[in-house]
Symmetry: C2
Subunit: 336 residues, 2 copies
């Protein structure tokens, strides 16, 4: 059996299986993460000269740029989807609109150690990665051409990772992408109508119902949303309304590192080390915004193939009830 | 290098690589389609009693329902995403809306032969399959609860097919899915503003530019759209404005079978038998519509994993220019 559910932000309808007919963690095949290409990896320590020159790095030992000694390293993507140089030059081609591919595409190498997964970093190491996310967000926002900074991670081949060495990506876009814009507009409409943040209301309801909460700490809460798009999809929110990721204190980032590490550890243990994607949903930059947005992180384990049905309609079939997913993630035998 | 492109229907922005930086057919790994489970397949001839009772079938020999002798067979999905029984019972759960999972979920088994792929059916066999699509569309539209009939095919494991034996699926939904609604509304707005069909205008522009047209016949045209979401994505349209798939004559369906077979054959040859999805974009049913919609089929070879970036934003990176894709598909050594 299943239910039809509609989320209140962009109006997406979803089919969700009831607990009785839900798949459990054991019903999915585990993904493989081959880690055997260290010999040719350009993200490893000692290969700094093989990548474009670094933009930022964490170097606790005071070592020189583009040499070993770093713990986190931000470099331009060697094969960028967008280029930093040039004007947008928007124009029409018949009935179509187009512009040049201006933007930025950077890689955050999260550790010099080829054999480590992101979930295996220490809280301190993860904090440095999050801190780089923040500084790149703030820095790229300084370029007036950019309207949106997307920060995301693909882990595992079936989640789209093409390089084994653990890394995340930062893309600066000269416009606000469609789904993001819809989410922002949905939040704004809700706020105009009710005078409240839609995400705060969702968090409030999660607290009332309790069953979908996976974990929380002083500043953050993680839950499997009532209307997911994917099995075991998990959302991570600042508990208090917060529209600006760029303004987080180091202490806030430390709380975030703690809960993110725990959450990824639970997902790894519970779902046999699956491939996954996560992305930061942040407020647009250089754009007239109000305070109605509430930034957050969405984590999507890659457990099934997305089929024609989903692609064709935006109408997702979710084979696991989120309450059940949360219970699995919460009760799995995980110790930090 | 790449370009940013925006399609005029729902307003989706896309990054498209220029021809120089595009991947060619040889750059993708071929997908595997293991066809070795005939012994346990419930879709094979002789196993009719193992499936739910058939809804429709093509039986040229006058054989009885649920016995061998069929060439195309429509059955209820054994594990349906939606159930045909019951009321919608729409209601609110806090700030969420929900309703019961009422709908229909059917399977069209396209041939009794386990070893055959859809692309290998004869034009006559494919015509019978399309004819079943049409009769199911018309029949399900007779149920006033349904608002949208989605007809699609997943071929190959990485495109989401979980049963090897070639088949397609029909899902009747009690609401119009998000992307579909956006497409319909976009087409309607364009029509209101300009007095013309947006799809007719796109076809007109494809004719003027020529380079993205893959093939055509008397009634249909296939091209790689200027703003695709995926590499080698191909759209198939009736040349003349046509808003009602249900009204197509058998002769029209025959033209459609011919071009669909050719197109899938070209994709199979050109891209080393890839996994793919196709779906019919049809007008909603039991819904106030005008004639502005123009039904069509979208075919998406599954060549790369969809990554966090696409999922998070609806902002797709397409690694192959559609003009180049069309040239590859057009010039590949294919004979019917």
């Amino acid at each position: 059996m299943s239910e039809l559910r509609r989320e209140p932000i962009v109006g997406r309808w979803v089919i969700v299986h009831t607990p009785k007919d839900s798949l459990g963690p054991k019903d999915f095949p585990p993904a493989e993460h081959v880690q055997h290409q260290a010999a040719i990896c350009q993200f490893c320590s000692g290969k700094e000269h093989q990548t474009p020159g670094e933009i930022e790095a964490v170097r606790l030992d005071g070592s020189a740029p583009n040499t070993p000694g770093w713990t986190v390293r931000v470099i331009p993507n060697k094969f960028p989807a967008l280029r930093i140089e040039g004007d947008l030059n928007k124009r029409g081609i018949g009935i179509f609109d187009m512009s040049n591919g201006v933007g930025a595409h950077e890689v955050v190498v999260e550790t010099p150690d080829h054999g480590k997964q992101f979930a295996d970093l220490s809280v301190e190491e993860m904090l440095e990665v999050l801190s780089k996310y923040q500084s790149r967000y703030v820095s790229l926002a300084g370029d007036q051409r950019f309207k949106y900074i997307l920060i995301f991670k693909n882990f595992g081949e079936s989640a789209g990772a093409t390089v084994e060495h653990t890394h995340s990506q930062v893309i600066a876009l000269p416009m606000i992408p469609k789904y993001v814009r819809e989410e922002i507009e949905g939040a704004k409409q809700y706020h105009n109508y009710r005078g409240r943040c839609v995400f705060c209301d969702i968090i409030h309801q999660e607290y009332q119902e309790k069953e979908r909460i996976v974990t929380e700490n002083a500043e953050f809460i993680a839950f499997c949303p009532y209307v997911p798009r994917y099995a075991f999809e998990t959302w991570l929110f600042p508990k208090r309304h917060n529209s600006d990721f760029g303004q987080l204190s180091r202490e806030d980032l430390s709380h975030l590192a703690k809960i993110l590490k725990e959450l990824l550890g639970r997902i790894k243990t519970c779902l046999a080390n699956p491939s996954y994607n996560f992305f930061l949903h942040l407020a647009p930059v250089n754009f007239e915004t109000d305070e109605s947005y509430h930034w957050h992180i969405e984590i999507i384990p890659k457990l099934t193939e997305v089929a024609g049905f989903e692609w064709g309609t935006g109408f997702y079939i979710v084979p696991t009830d989120p309450g059940l997913a949360a219970r699995h993630l919460k009760t799995v035998n995980y110790t930090a």
